[in-house]
């Protein structure tokens, strides 16, 4: 059994924010997972579940007033340990980030060329000419004609072009882990498949690990090696992409799959009654209990994580 290099490893990671009264509102209550090198890992969840916070933690852009507990390692480097964060040498070089909204994620005051220059110069001390060379490579990789993009300001490009430029920028840092927050959400159908193919190619050719954050579990199932389903700051189920979607173990996962439309097969859309708890609200026991059809007495206690058929589930029904 060869040792798998772990790109990202989280052990009991908790991330919260201080509110005005110095209380901590936990956005991530407990996250433990592993991302192998060259893997596509999808973090799936609905709004407010804390998935973006996990992404921010890996990318090193948690706000200064964030509070952390637990551990987060990136290629064996401890970036979060308890309450301390240390991302020296990690940002850019090892972990890169593709923002969800490229319109606001690209600096409006600089041309695309400048943006590449500032990043590459900061990281590797590249001069302008070299930086432009590098940027040309990556822009072509994402299907953009450098001559039609480099001298332009972000707002002069279409949404699709902006997103691709943002992806090229993120890739150009030479990072081995790329965190992408819904990277194809603002792209037209034309390019979506192309981009997915590109991401997959990168994974194969350069062993880049992709950490994708998405709300679409069905798409995740088709693309990702591993899926982690997040709800109210916890990972309810973690397992192989295709399996989690075809045979979900946790009730929430099953209901997410049921509620998602499948094209070509008009099943009944079963929605999940109720609403997820607002971020920061303290929950007793299993967070999903109020909406879960399988809930029973034990659920008032927080369920442990159990291994089932190579998957991890947080549910009392699988204990014992």
């Amino acid at each position: 059994m060869e040792a798998m290099v772990l790109a990202v490893k989280a052990v009991g990671l908790r991330v919260g924010y201080l509110d005005s009264e110095e209380n901590v509102l936990w956005a991530v209550r407990e996250a433990s997972f592993e991302v192998s090198e060259g893997e596509i890992f999808c973090l799936v969840g609905e709004s407010g579940c804390g998935k973006s916070t996990v992404g921010n933690a890996i990318a090193g852009i948690l706000p200064p007033h964030a509070v952390t507990e637990g551990e987060l390692h990136i290629f064996d480097r401890p970036v979060i340990q308890g309450g301390r964060m240390n991302y020296n040498g990690v940002r850019g070089r090892i972990v890169s980030y593709v923002p969800q909204n490229p319109g606001t994620g690209l600096n409006p005051y600089y041309t695309v060329e400048d943006q590449f220059y500032y990043v590459l110069n900061s990281l590797y001390g590249l001069g302008r000419r070299k930086a432009v060379e590098v940027s040309r490579n990556y822009l072509s990789l994402v299907g953009l004609d450098p001559d039609r993009v480099l001298d332009y300001y972000p707002h002069e490009l279409s949404g699709g072009m902006q997103q691709r430029a943002a992806i090229a920028l993120a890739l150009s840092t030479g990072a081995r882990v790329v965190v992408a927050d819904e990277p194809t959400s603002s792209i037209d159908a034309n390019l979506r498949l192309q981009l997915i193919k590109l991401l997959l190619d990168l994974r194969d050719s350069q062993r880049i690990s992709l950490f994708l954050i998405t709300h679409d579990i069905m798409s995740a199932g088709k693309i990702c090696d591993t899926i982690a389903v997040m709800y109210a700051g916890r990972l309810l189920e973690v397992g192989r992409g295709s399996e989690v979607v075809t045979e979900p173990l946790h009730q929430y996962t099953r209901m997410l799959v049921d509620a998602a439309p499948t094209l070509g097969f008009k099943k009944a859309l079963r929605s999940i009654p109720g609403e997820p708890p607002r971020p920061g609200v303290v929950v007793e026991g299993c967070a999903f209990r109020p909406r879960c059809p399988w809930a029973f007495e034990k659920c008032v206690e927080a369920p442990p994580r159990v291994g089932v058929f190579g998957r991890e589930v947080e549910c009392w029904r699988y204990v014992g």
Partner: protein, 342 residues
């Protein structure tokens, strides 16, 4: 090209229209306010030559002509800089105004050279140490500065300087200027003395410039301290800053290069607006407190001697001043903010 010729042309046109409007209004003031317009235009003369002066004034204004001839002629005179001879100074009006304008302008420029960088730096410190006691202190300082009456501050400074026998009034020591052969070329004495290599005059002008400049600078400085803090804080929360951090851009670059770039348009716009406001401050402080030549003194003299010509000349010049400053502020913003297209 973020700036189109079209826009500049339109702006120029509108500005001229404003000046024309002001000229028309001024004319109406002379003609419609109580009293004989010719008397007013002649400056309420007394004595032996009074009636002669009044007749001359009547001819100048062309009061015998119908109104639709009077007004355009007056407007044209204004636009060509021909308002006749000043009652008080006995010299052509516009040259008098322009030579005093450079004095006030020099003062304002030095003021802002002090106020803006200091205010921006302090605002930056505040923002970066947001929530700390340093932040609170700087912000309260900003409020204090912005609300300090310039007249009072100027007077206090003046008193301190005078009691320590430091030269503080006027614009330059004329004796020294004559001795060292100083010539006024542009009207900006600092520039002129440097160009002529006359260091003694340069220092003298500077020493007399600093106290009034400091007094006037407190308002824009206080303004910048508060506004820049807000601007910088906002920029640091922007998405693209977070992305830059994530991609590994060095903190110093983000804080200075990126943020400064983002904050600049706002600072420039605000400076433009404040600059026009400071004109009034400057006119009061320079003339009344520090006895310097400038638009302030012109105003006082004009009012004291019923010199309508100077008064109207002043109105027109100040109007043009505001127009130019505002246009410049907009133009600079277009040049510095790539999202703005004029």
């Amino acid at each position: 090209m973020p700036l189109s010729l079209n826009y500049l042309a339109k702006r120029l046109l509108w500005s001229m229209l404003v000046v024309v409007g002001v000229a028309v209004l001024s004319y109406l003031i002379i003609v419609l306010s109580p009293g004989d317009p010719a008397v007013k235009w002649a400056g309420n003369p007394r004595g032996a030559n009074a009636s002669l002066a009044i007749e001359l004034a009547r001819k100048e204004l062309g009061l015998q002509d119908p109104i639709y001839v009077q007004v355009p002629r007056f407007v044209v005179n204004v636009l060509t800089g021909n308002l006749g001879l000043s009652i008080f100074y006995k010299q052509p009006v516009f040259p008098v105004i322009t030579s005093n304008l450079t004095s006030t302008l020099e003062l304002l420029l030095i003021t802002y050279l002090i106020a803006i960088p200091t205010g921006v730096l302090l605002g930056y410190f505040s923002a970066v140490r947001r929530g700390s006691r340093v932040d609170d202190f700087i912000q309260q300082l900003g409020v204090l500065l912005a609300n300090t009456p310039t007249f009072w501050l100027g007077s206090a400074l003046f008193l301190v300087l005078v009691t320590h026998e430091i030269p503080s009034s006027g614009r330059v020591d004329y004796v020294l200027a004559i001795e060292t052969g100083f010539q006024s070329i542009t009207g900006f004495y600092l520039l002129d003395s440097l160009v002529q290599g006359n260091l003694r005059v340069f220092l003298d002008v500077l020493v007399r410039l600093l106290p009034p400049a400091l007094a006037i600078s407190v308002y824009p400085m206080g303004l910048m301290i508060r506004v820049v803090r807000t601007l910088v804080t906002e920029v640091l929360l922007e998405d693209y800053i977070r992305v830059s951090v994530a991609l590994g851009v060095k903190k110093r670059r983000i804080l200075w290069t990126f943020t400064l770039r983002a904050v600049m348009p706002g600072v420039i716009q605000l400076s433009g607006i404040a600059f026009a406001y400071s004109l009034v401050d400057a006119m009061v402080v320079e003339s009344v407190v520090f006895g310097r030549p400038g638009l302030g003194r012109l105003l006082i003299d004009a009012l004291n001697s019923s010199d309508f010509r100077i008064a109207i000349g002043l109105i027109v010049v100040v109007t043009v001043f505001y127009l130019v400053v505002n246009t410049l502020a907009d133009v600079v913003q277009a040049l510095t903010d790539p999202r703005v297209r004029l």
